[in-house]
Structures are given as C-alpha cells and as structure tokens.
C-alpha cells in the first residue's frame, strides 16, 4: 500500500480542519479543567461541611460521576437534560458542561487526598496565630494540598484530554471529529488516524511540558528542597 499524506493535506481546508479541531479540543479541555477545578474546590469543601445533607450530596455526586462512563454523562447532558428542561445550547457548550462535571468529581477526590497530607500541626499553628478556618484553608492547606497532588491532577487532566474524542459523538467539531470527517472524504484511514495520533501525542506532551513549567513556577518552595 502506498501512503498519500501529501495528497490529503495538499488541500489546505483539511489541514485547517485539523488545526481548528485541535484548537477546540484544547480550549474545551483547558476551560473545563479550570471550571472543573473551581467546582472541585466547592465539592471537596462540601465533604467537610457541618450540614450533613451537603456532605452526602457531594459524596453522592462524586460517586455518580466516577462510576458512569463519560460518554453516557455526555449524552445525558446533551440529550437527556435538554429534553427535560427544554434548553438548547450549541454542541460545544454541552461538551464543556459534561467535561466540567467529569473533571470536578475526579479533581475533588484528588484534592481531598491532598488535604489529608497536610498535618494538623499546620492548622493548629494557623489557628494559634488567629487565622480563621477559611483563611487557614486558602492560605495554608490548599496551596500545600495542590502542590502535593499536582502530578495526579496533571495525569487526570491529560487523561481527560485524551478522552475528549468522545465529544465528536454529539457533533462537536473537535480533533477526532475532524479526523473522522477527512477519513470519510478520502478513505485514507491509515494516514488520517496516524496524523491524529501524532497530533494528540504532540498536544499531550506540550500540556505536560507546560504544566511542568507551571509547577516549577508555582511551587518554587518544593524545588528549593
């Protein structure tokens, strides 16, 4: 079999499609990671809430997300909920919501494991200095928990980035969707999916590299060891 990479991508609109797809995949993953992190903070905090209802709701939510497939969550958000609540959003918005919900559950569990590694001596010292529980959490516990669990957060981020391909299933023009489209037009499956693989690898490694740089900047105190 002869390979025809050049002939496929000579048509600049296919290349452009891949680039746009890659940009959308990256943008959705990064945005979902940020909003997911914000939600994860609230969720992990709710696990320590004085109100037991709040604790149980947060725990149930986390279990629900972690024990159902992403694609089902996606269909639920994109097709299930709109039927019930009657809203119509663009495809990417459904995808963003589903990814955010997914991120939040996993991130909150990772954060929770991080809180547990911060010793009681730290919170006691903070209390002794007159810091309120909220200040102690944001100034003392959270930064150390994030630093300690940073590698896990990064793995989770990369893992979800790689699974974002499923959002093609609800019609989002992400990277996988671009590949599927080009494949359907050219029938050059090897070339197309080989290219896709390469792009995913490059993007994953770039994310990892970027997040490692961020780690060194954010947690200089750990490097100082």
């Amino acid at each position: 079999m002869d390979l025809r990479f050049f002939e496929i991508y000579r048509r600049s609109d296919y290349l452009l499609l891949l680039l746009e797809g890659a940009a959308l995949s990256a943008a959705l993953t990064i945005t979902a990671a940020l909003t997911g992190m914000a939600l994860a903070l609230a969720l992990s905090g709710a696990r320590y809430a004085r109100l037991s209802v709040l604790r149980h709701v947060a725990a149930a939510y986390v279990e629900f997300i972690r024990n159902t497939p992403l694609i089902v969550q996606l269909f639920f958000v994109a097709f299930g909920l709109p039927t019930l609540l009657g809203y119509q959003w663009p495809f990417w918005a459904h995808a963003l919501l589903a990814l955010t919900l997914n991120f939040s559950a996993y991130f909150s569990e990772i954060l929770r494991s991080g809180y547990a590694t911060v010793g009681t001596g730290q919170t006691e010292a903070a209390a002794a200095l007159g810091l309120k529980p909220r200040q102690t959490f944001f100034k003392i516990v959270l930064p150390q928990a994030v630093a300690k669990t940073y590698p896990s957060l990064v793995s989770q981020f990369i893992f979800l980035f790689l699974t974002t391909g499923v959002i093609a299933e609800i019609g989002v023009n992400d990277l996988t969707q671009a590949g599927k489209f080009i494949d359907s037009r050219t029938f050059r499956s090897f070339e197309v999916f080989f290219t896709l693989t390469l792009i995913y690898i490059l993007m994953s490694l770039s994310f990892k590299g970027g997040l490692a740089v961020l780690q060194r900047r954010l947690f200089r105190w750990q490097v100082a060891r």
Binding site: Q122, A125, A127, A128, L129, L131, Q135, Q144, A224, R225
Partner: protein, 240 residues
C-alpha cells in the same frame, strides 16, 4: 494577667488536668516541669483556647478564654504559642511565614507587616534568611522563625511548649538564648521545658506537674534546691 482557676480537662476517660490553679502576672516568667503525661503541655493549649476545658476557668486580662462570647481569634493575637514541632509553613518564605498573620489577622499593609517581620527576624538572628524557604533552614532556625512569627503579632503573653525537644542537641542552645533574651526583655511567658538548668536560670517561678496536678510551685532556687513535695524530689533526682 493570666488567671487559671481550678481547670479540669479530660480526653475521654483520661483526666489530664485535675484542677489547676495558677496566676501569672505581667512580666513574669513561669516554667512548668514534670514527666510526660503530667498535663503540662495540655495546659498551654487550654490557655489559648486550642483545647476546650471541662471545668474551671481561664481568664486573660479579664477575658474568659472559654466563654462562648469570646472571640478566640482575637484573643489568640494576644497570646502567642510556639510548639515543639516548629510548624513552619513550608510553602511560604521566612518573611511570608512571619507577615501572614499580621496581614490577614491584624489587617496590616504589606510594608508595615514586613517592617515588623524584619525587626522580629533580626531579633532572633534570621535577618539574612528573609526570602529563604523553611526547608532550607535548620531545626533551630525554623524554631527561631516560629518564635519571630508569634512575636510579630505583638502578643502580651508567650507560651512555649517544649520548644527545644525536637531539636538536635547542638541546636538547643541557640533557641534557649532567644528565649532568655525575651525573658530579659520582660516578656510574660509560660514555658514547658525539660531543660532544668535553663528553667532555673530564667524563671521567676517554677511549677512541677505530676499526674494532672500542680504538685509544687516556687522560686527556682527553692524548687530545685529544696523541693518539698516527694514527687518533685523523685523527679528531680531522676533528671539530674
């Protein structure tokens, strides 16, 4: 003035403080000695409200520590405490460790807080470590930083809970020197310690705790020279 009246404290079935009475006047240095499990460290954590009490009362300058209406965070700005484990905040520089509470609790601006922090850090001999992270400091330096951190709140009282017990022997001296300096400057302090010669040296009064009871209290020369209580005699003969 710290006034401790008939304070009782239990952890479950175990009563660790069985009615402690102690009054510490402004400018006074009181050291508490005794075996492990005698309740001496627990007393310190009760004084600044980190631990609730089961009976009696503790008042600091007229404010009852464990009263429901008492703002503990506010009270704690008046009573500094330094622990056996230094509890340095590892993610903050020495300067940030010391400025955190003045800024967040007292609401100081950065410049003002840094000026105070620098003064206190110079005081304990760490003026050249301002932008260093705690992991780069020795145990003795970390403990001195913890002392500066407490002092930066300008507390009226300082509590020291076995602050040299976790240190390598060669680092104990530098921390004791710092404590001695504070004592000489007139800081009101309650120290729990195992350093007997230090206690004898700096204290106005020494209290001996035994099984949750303050068995004896007196001037250092009296308590160390001529202990009255048989348990004090037994304890001192063992640690000497």
């Amino acid at each position: 003035m710290i006034d401790i009246q008939n304070v009782r404290k239990s952890f479950g079935d175990l009563e660790v403080l069985k009615g402690i009475d102690l009054t510490v006047e402004r400018g006074e240095v009181v050291t508490v000695i005794g075996g492990s499990g005698s309740g001496k460290s627990t007393l310190l954590t009760c004084i600044n409200g980190l631990e609730p009490i089961n009976g009696g009362k503790i008042t600091i300058d007229g404010t009852e520590v464990h009263a429901r209406s008492t703002d503990l965070n506010k009270l704690r700005t008046k009573v500094g405490i330094v622990f056996q484990q230094f509890n340095a905040f590892p993610h903050l520089t020495v300067m940030e460790n010391v400025t955190l509470a003045p800024r967040k609790v007292l609401g100081m601006g950065r410049a003002e807080a840094e000026a105070i922090a620098e003064k206190q850090l110079r005081h304990v001999g760490l003026a050249d470590k301002l932008s260093t992270y705690p992991s780069r400091l020795s145990g003795g330096q970390q403990q001195r930083m913890a002392i500066a951190r407490a002092l930066a709140m300008s507390p009226g009282y300082m509590l020291f809970d076995e602050v040299t017990s976790a240190l390598d022997p060669q680092l104990v001296g530098e921390v004791l020197e710092t404590l001695k300096m504070l004592a000489e400057e007139g800081m009101t302090m309650i120290l729990v310690t195992h350093e007997m010669s230090f206690a004898r040296d700096v204290s106005d009064r020494v209290a001996f705790f035994h099984k949750g009871v303050m068995a004896e209290i007196g001037a250092p020369d009296q308590l160390f020279g001529a202990p009255r209580h048989p348990e004090t005699q037994a304890f001192l003969s063992k640690v000497r």
